[in-house]
């Protein structure tokens, strides 16, 4: 027992770095054809009629010949 104790003292620090080698093995899973990303807040804004009117007015001001 007295002979093995120093080995144990050396072995524990040697094994500690290996503890950080764990890797998450769960893969990212995607449903085909379905957007899985973050929701764009613009999508809600575009639903409002005021927003559509604003863009139409902007178009009239900027795209038509002066």
């Amino acid at each position: 027992m007295t002979v093995r104790a120093p080995w144990a003292v050396l072995l524990v620090p040697a094994l500690l770095p290996l503890a950080g080698c764990y890797e998450e093995l769960t893969p990212a899973y995607y449903e085909p054809g379905e957007y899985k990303g973050e929701q764009d807040p613009l999508l809600d804004k575009l639903e409002h009629r005021e927003m559509q009117d604003e863009l139409e007015q902007r178009f009239d001001r900027t795209a038509r010949d002066r």
């Binding site: 957007y35 990303g37 863009l55 900027t62 795209a63």
Partner: protein, 203 residues
């Protein structure tokens, strides 16, 4: 609901590249990337035509169809956007796009290209509208401010039109009737469907 579309009137485009500069300036696009560019057909010959090309925000976008990680989404008014957090830079969209719109910022060993970048119709991306994060990753979000794409608004001859497809078609038809000749809606049918007329109605 509006259906946002681009249309470049080849009879009016004077190849000034103001749309390219406006896009790069508005979106702070990195060197080596051009979300929009001007192509000239039969350059130097009589009757040459120039057209301004970027992502056309196709009705049935082929880039979205081939994306293996489905990073594309389409807004209710037809703007095709993507999420750079999901993009793996595989380049499939680049091969699928008939307009050469997807751009990749890097060129490294083992085909590493970085996250895809393309025209967003000045509508930014998934982060909070007009936030610093959105601007740095996707560019300006003019749509959220009630503005239209900078390239079209800057066009001095009004060759490049961007907005609701019905209004764009209305303006273009008026021009064609006024100057006579055949309508030359370059890329329009490829982007928005072969079964669609210039007015956006099914033929």
């Amino acid at each position: 609901m509006a259906r946002m579309k681009f249309l470049c009137d080849a009879e009016r485009c004077i190849e000034c590249n103001a749309c390219v500069v406006a896009c790069n300036n508005e979106n702070d696009v990195p060197w080596g990337i051009n979300r929009r560019r001007v192509l000239t057909l039969n350059d130097g010959e009589p009757g040459e035509k120039s057209i301004s090309v970027a992502c056309m925000h196709c009705t049935d976008a082929p880039c979205a169809a081939v994306c293996p990680v489905d990073c594309f989404y389409t807004t209710t008014d037809g703007i095709v956007l993507h999420d750079k957090d999901i993009c793996i830079g595989c380049g499939y969209c680049f091969y699928a796009c008939p307009f050469g719109a997807p751009q990749f910022p890097e060129q490294e060993a083992f085909g590493v290209r970085g996250k895809m970048d393309k025209c967003t119709f000045c509508a930014g991306g998934p982060p909070e509208d007009n936030s610093v994060e959105e601007y740095e990753r996707y560019g300006a979000n003019r749509i959220a401010e009630g503005k239209l794409p900078a390239c079209a608004e800057m066009c001095s001859t009004k060759a490049l039109l961007a907005g609701d497809g019905e209004l764009v078609a209305d303006i273009y038809l008026t021009r064609v009737l006024k100057r006579s000749g055949r309508p030359d809606t370059w890329g329009w049918q490829k982007a928005y469907g072969a079964g669609l007329t210039v007015s956006g109605e099914a033929s």
